[in-house]
Amino acid sequence: MERFHEILQNRHEYARAWKKKTGGKVIGYYEPYMPEEIVYAAGALPVRLLSQHEPDDTTDRQMYGNCACSRDILNQFIKGRYDYIDGLINAEGCQWMLNAFQTTLNNQPELFNHYIFVPDYVDGKTSKDVMRSELVVFKKAVENWMGKPINDSDLDRAIEVYNTNRRLMRQVYELRRADNPVVLGSEAMEMVLASQVMDKTEMNKILEDAIAKLANRKPRTDTGVRLMLVGSPTSDVALEELVESLGANVVIDEVCTGSCYFWNEVIPQTNRLMAISLRYLGRPHCALKDNNWRRRPAHIHQLYEDYQAQGVIIAKQIYCHPHGTDNPLIWKILRERNIPFHYFERDMTLPYEETRLRLEAFINMLKPMLVLK
């Protein structure tokens, strides 16, 4: 458990050490639609670029109105925190991330870079073909850059490693379902976050160990109100920890850096790239791509039921427009189904007092500790 915390906190050091150890290349990517398997198969380490809290006095020069997430990634690049990155990849998602990608490249044009178009209409009949053809182009670009071909066996190996990771993470999440869970929300979230910046082979080993240890842990009886977290991606577990300090527990999340990251697996088929395309197009819809056939509300509701949550926290990053646009429908559905929720906006940092007040009041609302007359 602590290992995940450590790696997450020192993710830059981790990647640098990996580089030193293996002599390999590190690729940073912005959006969850980036097919990591291809990068991994080529022998490079895909690392998700996550934001961090650091005073930001550099990005105003080139950005305006961006969400703190994308802003901070640029800030870190300008400050040299990501000096170990050899290549940047953006798979189309949110435009603010595209902006961070493009601007970073304007500052550091020497980096290897590639843009993958991901269909906006993920359920469209021909979208999978478009995606696959984009992956063909992408694979070729990576091969040229790495100077060696990616074989089917490389891909198979990478798919296996990633699928194993996804299975293991599902196992961890399964443990959260228990009435008296052995793993807390913040711990599980830390694992997912760490897995996005780690070498998955190593991750899988640590994860197997951790799961074995969890089995021997004493179930917690003090976790209190069961909450679900929905909203913009985050890069820390401050919210989960705050919830836990207030006598409640986040038992499930529908967040792009959380459960959505590993929820579905690649279903193997001979056309590997098609298999990968289908996996990414079929992942739980992110708010932006959930446009024609609305799957997000149903998915949220299902998770809510499966995990017997008692209320939903919707936390949106300031200036996160995909989630902002989606809110009305989510609210509407939750209200129709009588699911209590509380919505708020967060910044990179959580203002402790204000958030505590919200959450405490929400928890009291769900489960009044006083029998008020």
Binding site: W96, Q102, G124, T126, D129, V130, P328, W331, K332
Partner: protein, 439 residues
Amino acid sequence: MSKQKWETRPLEVWNKAKEMRAKWQKSIDTASSERVLLAQGNCQWSIGFPALRVIEDNPVGAMMANKSDEFARVSRLAGEIIGWGREICGYQLNCWGAMYLGHQIDGSPFPLRDLVIPFSDPCDQHTKRGQAPMDYSPIPRFQENYPLYTGPQDPNRDKTMIEDKVYTTLYIIAEIERIFGQKFDDERFVASVKVSGGITPYAQEVSRFMQHIPSPLSQKDLYSFYTLGGLTKGDPGETVAIWKALRDEVEWRVQNNIAAVGNERFRWMEAHPPPWHFLKYYRYMEKYGAVCIGSQYSHMMAGPMELKKDGTWGPRFSGGGFGRTIDRPIKTREDAIRVMLGTEARGHRFKDDEVIRPWALDDFAKAYKADGAILPLWRCGVGCTVTRKEQGLRLSEMGVRVLHYEGSQPGDRTDLDENRLFDQLDVWMESQGLRKLED
């Protein structure tokens, strides 16, 4: 103004244009009573359906902002209450806010939409357009992909993306025929594609005339016209005629040095729509002898233009697509769709430039001999502002003086501090040694 350098006079085609716009608006207003389908969105092929009107929330929102601060504000609040935040594009907030309120500015009932055909545009807000009416009352929605990629041109990628779009468009048309039982009129569609190709050369010429000093038109004039062919689907023949009339009149103005601003001594460009409720800053700038020669946006009807090697300002593409002259026969529905889409997947829309051709604004400044650029920074939505600051940096390096002002979004007056903008304009002008000609 005491003594003007150049003669000024109002545009004559203006009245005709107004008439056409009013006619279009009426056809929307009466849509429900005439049993015409009303679609949220925009697409050229809609003309093929005899009883289908497309209308986007963008022009509706802009019009609301322009007409009534108060109604727009109340509508936005209605949107906020159902869950939207302030990072959402103001057009959307205005338009759908009115839907939640249930009425329009004049108190008449809000015309509910029957289907959604989102407009193909790289702004993320467009990807999610039309979900408000869809969530409000279950109606069909037809999403397509808005392909875009960075890096060098790749014909193979283009081909796949275009094929996808052709397929989707054909599919959507068939679906609408099936669901609503309307027959698609291929001839009408083909004719319309031909006609819109007919506008392009005129629009391009008008665009080129704007290079003249003094500028024959100003930004405000351009705004009156660009909606004509693009956003409103009026009678095609009439539209071409009015563009021709416009071209002729502008040519005459150039020949006779008829100016938009009589004392032109400073030319500036823009990058996006202005705040629709606050067009008076154009007037204010005239006091300094400054004229706005337009933006990529207001020159949109001419299609993507570029600075050619010989220094002329010409169209970037040929062979079909928006703003492209047509050079091949169009017979079938699919032919027309292919011409409409062109052969390149990107570069189609002026906002693609933000990402794939960041130097586009530099070229624009050079072509129009701009001394300055006003680049608004909009807090809401994305497409409006993405890379705007970087463009500002590039222009400053070229020696073009850049002014950024902040606001929410062209259709949302919340954050636009009008007096601060006036102050900024004063500072901008004075710091370049220009003082008001006369108060």
